[in-house]
Amino acid sequence: MSSRDLLIRGRGITKVFGYGAAKTTAVDTVDFDFHKGEIISIVGESGSGKTTLAKIIMGLLKESGGSIDYKGQPRVLRRHADLKKYWKDIQAIFQDPFSSFNLFQRVEKLLLSCIRLQGLKLTKDEQFNKMKEACSFVNLKFEELYNKYPFELSGGQMQRLMIARIFMLHPKVLIADEPTSMVDACSRSTILDMLLKLRDENEMTIIFITHDVGLAYYVSDTIYIMEKGQIVERGPAEDIILNPQHAYTRQLISDVPKIHTAWDLG
């Protein structure tokens, strides 16, 4: 960890869906501390509430209970203006890159919108250079891509383009919700390395959501293990993976096929 400045702090976050008999607690009194320049993984199986928690942090869902402090101040998202201000600092990458882009716009226009969002007044050449820089950050060639529509690109290319957008906007917090589940193993390692590069160069806090402890171990500093809405174990990545305490963590680790140890199919 490069520094220990506390960026987001959550206490007793709870989210309840439905009411009466159909009441389900998706997130149950969760505490978290995310520091500046830290990569945090939230790991759990499907339905454990990890995406709900991410949406609460993003401000897309309102928590039923608990409080979030952002930069040492209580986070207030009462009016649309508050949200707009908050979202300048927070960005997200989702599972399916094709659902994150406007499919009727060319790549050039998609990247141009990032420049507009920042309110920068740039000449054509400056815009071009900026987009080129962002594309070379993610190992894409802007000259080959700018005239293409999203459907002409592969899933891995789209996901990298998404990271290029993040690079241009340089938010303080990035929420990556299973960004590698739709791409193959090669693109996956490239995307993970890019997330690490983003953190190293821009001091970004990255919240990485996954069901694969292997990926979490590779990419993150801190791991939160989530089971049925509750954080059952949290700590530095090495401790969690190499010396798991909770039974659920052990089960998650044993579910992943490894190459140096036998895989017990039970």
Partner: protein, 336 residues
């Protein structure tokens, strides 16, 4: 004595574009699968894994067309059979195929048992509904699936359960070969384990004799299959046993693929992952020499110019210009 259950030689299948160009997604594939063995096929997206699986069924729907080559199941060339013969004699009985999004193919308005009745109506018309029901319950119980599933609608089941149900349904006629195309890619690790367990069960209880497993998750193949075959740009670049392929890869492409493995084991943290620069070649304009030359860090002039033949060393095949000694020396140098 082992017999060859599946023999593919010189298989070429292509997609026809709107401009009448032919794109060979499977370009001269030869392999042999022995009875009782399992084979894994690995490779990047777009390398032709799924097209190969689809081609093995013998059904070709535009834009996919059959080019040349033969597919033999127990010595019987299925490419010489008519569509009707294929449907009634081969599909489901000899080969079963589970496509990538199989679980989404279940009609949401029908109970699971109806899919099984549907298969039986075609292949075993003499059975009554009661007999089919008993048979299905028995099969589901042996596979540790709850018979309650049979009365459920697909939307009542979870993703992992749906995938397991699809596998159980497609193997109900005891096919000799099961071709599973990324059966676990949409599932989380816990359901993935359940699906793998089911396939091991099917093999152990001899409901299926052989398995062709397609995925890009190499650690998974290591535990599931005996042999691994790596495809690149429509060709097979290397084949060997799982141990050889994971720990001692020969082809530079396989080497890179193995370098991208991520597992929760000691030493993974801070480990440098191998990235393959560039993208696979456009198969409309196939490069003259080795298809991997453009992205290979060891490529030399000879790679770009002359075509590569398959070399065979100690029962392993690989498609590269260089001998094993030279390749291993390069890998050793890179590591130091």
């Amino acid at each position: 004595m082992t017999t060859n259950i599946l023999e593919v030689s010189g298989l070429k299948t292509y997609y026809k574009t709107r401009l009448k160009e032919k794109v060979f997604a499977v370009d001269g594939v030869d392999f042999v699968l022995e009875e009782g063995k399992t084979l894994g096929i690995a490779g990047e997206s777009g390398c032709g894994k799924s097209t190969l699986a689809l081609s093995l069924m013998g059904f070709y729907f535009p834009p996919l067309h059959y080019g040349s080559g033969s597919i033999q199941i127990h010595g019987r060339d299925i490419m010489k059979l008519s569509k009707e013969q294929l449907r009634t004699q081969i599909s489901g009985r000899e080969i079963a195929y589970i496509p990538q999004a199989a679980m989404n193919a279940l009609n949401p308005t029908l109970r699971i048992i109806r899919f099984i009745e549907d298969i039986m109506k075609e292949h075993r018309p003499e059975l009554t509904k009661k007999q089919v029901w008993d048979m299905a319950v028995e099969r589901f119980e042996t596979l540790n699936l709850s018979p309650k599933v049979l009365r459920s609608y697909p939307n009542e089941l979870s993703g992992g359960m749906k995938q397991r149900t699809v596998i159980a349904i497609s193997t109900i006629l005891n096919p000799k070969v099961l071709i599973a195309d990324e059966p676990t890619s949409a599932l989380d690790v816990t359901s993935q384990k359940a699906v793998i367990k089911l396939m091991k069960d099917l093999l152990d209880k001899q409901f299926i004799r052989s398995l062709v497993f397609i995925t890009h998750e190499l650690p998974l193949l290591y535990h599931v299959t005996d042999d691994i075959m790596v495809m690149y740009a429509g060709e097979i670049v290397e084949r060997g046993t799982a141990d050889q392929m994971i720990f001692d890869p020969l082809h530079p492409y396989t080497k890179k693929l193995m370098g991208s493995i991520i597992v929760p084991e000691e030493g993974m943290k801070g480990h440098k992952l191998a990235a393959i620069p560039g993208t696979p070649p456009n198969l409309k304009h196939v490069p003259a020499g080795c298809r991997f030359a453009e992205r290979c860090s060891y490529a030399q002039d000879i790679c770009r110019e002359s075509n590569v033949a398959v070399q065979e060393v100690d029962g392993r095949q690989y498609r590269c210009h260089f001998d094993t000694g030279t390749l291993k020396e390069w890998y050793a140098n890179e590591q130091s």
